[in-house]
């Protein structure tokens, strides 16, 4: 994710960028928790809905790897064909989410430091 490109894409200032990044972090953490619980409960409808919800957010930040997993998960959870495949993709998603949250928090701190200067 390139912060300058994102600013230009959204045509926004740093303050708005900070609010969007923070919201993204909060939302993704919340949705991940929901997907986790839904997977444990084999509630594939909720997995599908929340994969879709997270897709909207990650598309803004062009997180291609996560987008690919979420698109696959949305279809699989919707079709409910193979529970093992769904669970594998959920695990893969969690690994990626951990990384993107960490990256996003780092970027967010960088922008905050820049604004403070």
């Amino acid at each position: 994710m390139n912060i300058q490109e994102l600013k230009s894409y959204l045509n926004c200032d740093d303050a708005f960028l900070i609010s969007i990044m923070q919201k993204f972090i909060d939302e993704v953490i919340e949705i991940t928790a929901t997907i986790k619980t839904a997977t444990n409960n084999k509630d594939w409808g909720t997995v599908k809905t929340n994969a879709h919800k997270m897709l909207s957010s990650v598309r803004i930040f062009e997180m291609k790897e996560v987008i690919a997993v979420l698109e696959k998960l949305e279809i699989e959870a919707g079709e409910r064909k193979d529970e093992d495949i769904i669970k594998k993709d959920v695990e893969r998603l969690f690994v990626l989410i951990e990384k993107i949250i960490l990256d996003m928090k780092t970027s967010l701190e960088e922008v905050k430091v820049k604004v403070a200067k």
């Binding site: 894409y9 959204l10 045509n11 926004c12 708005f16 609010s19 969007i20 919201k23 993204f24 939302e27 809905t49 879709h52 919800k53 897709l55 909207s56 957010s57 598309r59 803004i60």
Partner: protein, 231 residues
């Protein structure tokens, strides 16, 4: 030109971005943001907004079901993360179709489309038949056509209800009907003409406008349902 809109989308990150985009556009006033379509159905006064930004993929009530539940469908800008909804956008005569995510540059293009849409379709119609004169208590007074909700024939005169006020005139119901744009008004009973976009509720053979109930004759019922796109 000042246009009122509402956003219906369960994705709060997206709506925050659209709110940010709209904040710099003078010509459009954001009337409300709804993350729950059911809440939008109960809170939006569809007679008072000019268009909607509508997400197609929402849980429980999706965009299509939402549109099908409306008695009067306002112009819409379809929003979706899936390109396949472009076909639905076409079917509902959408002003534009926005594929998520939406850059500010793409959004501004959409705003231009929206402005052109209203300049071409809405403005000429209202400018031609924007107002009518009626003789009320001996004086000719001007009524803005869009403000007229109900026209009722009484025994000896006709009452026009506009902006909550009633105006009596000795014109015949038929004469007033001819003065109004037929695309917007409809006779629903031998004694009543109504502006279609002002109808709040339809319950069998009764409609409601601003809390007033109006009977619909069987003769006009199927045409009314057809014009309101009630299936």
């Amino acid at each position: 030109m000042q246009l009122k809109c509402a956003i219906i989308d369960d994705d709060s990150l997206f709506t925050q971005i659209i709110e940010h985009y709209l904040s710099s556009i003078d010509v459009i006033h954001l009337d409300g943001v709804y993350h729950d379509p059911a809440e939008a159905l109960s809170k939006i006064n569809f007679n008072e907004i000019d268009f909607l930004f509508l997400d197609m993929e929402m849980p429980v009530i999706n965009g299509i079901s939402f549109l099908n539940s409306l008695t009067v469908v306002p112009p819409i800008v379809v929003v979706s993360g899936k390109k396949s909804y472009g076909v639905d956008a076409f079917e509902y005569n959408a002003i534009d179709y926005l594929h998520k995510p939406i850059s500010n540059a793409r959004f501004l293009k959409s705003i231009n489309k929206i402005k052109t849409f209203f300049e071409k379709t809405k403005m000429p119609e209202t400018s031609v038949q924007q107002n009518i004169f009626i003789k009320h208590e001996g004086v000719h007074i001007r009524l803005i056509v869009n403000d007229i909700n109900i026209i009722r024939a009484n025994d000896n005169d006709v009452t026009l209800v506009a902006n909550g006020k009633s105006y009596k005139t000795h014109l015949r119901l038929k004469d007033i009907y001819e003065m109004l744009p037929q695309t917007e008004f409809m006779q629903v009973h031998r004694s009543f003409i109504v502006q279609l976009s002002k109808i709040d509720k339809v319950d069998g053979e009764v409609i409601e406008i601003n809390g007033r109930t109006i009977p619909v004759s069987r003769t006009y019922l199927s045409e009314l349902y057809e014009r309101l796109r009630i299936k």
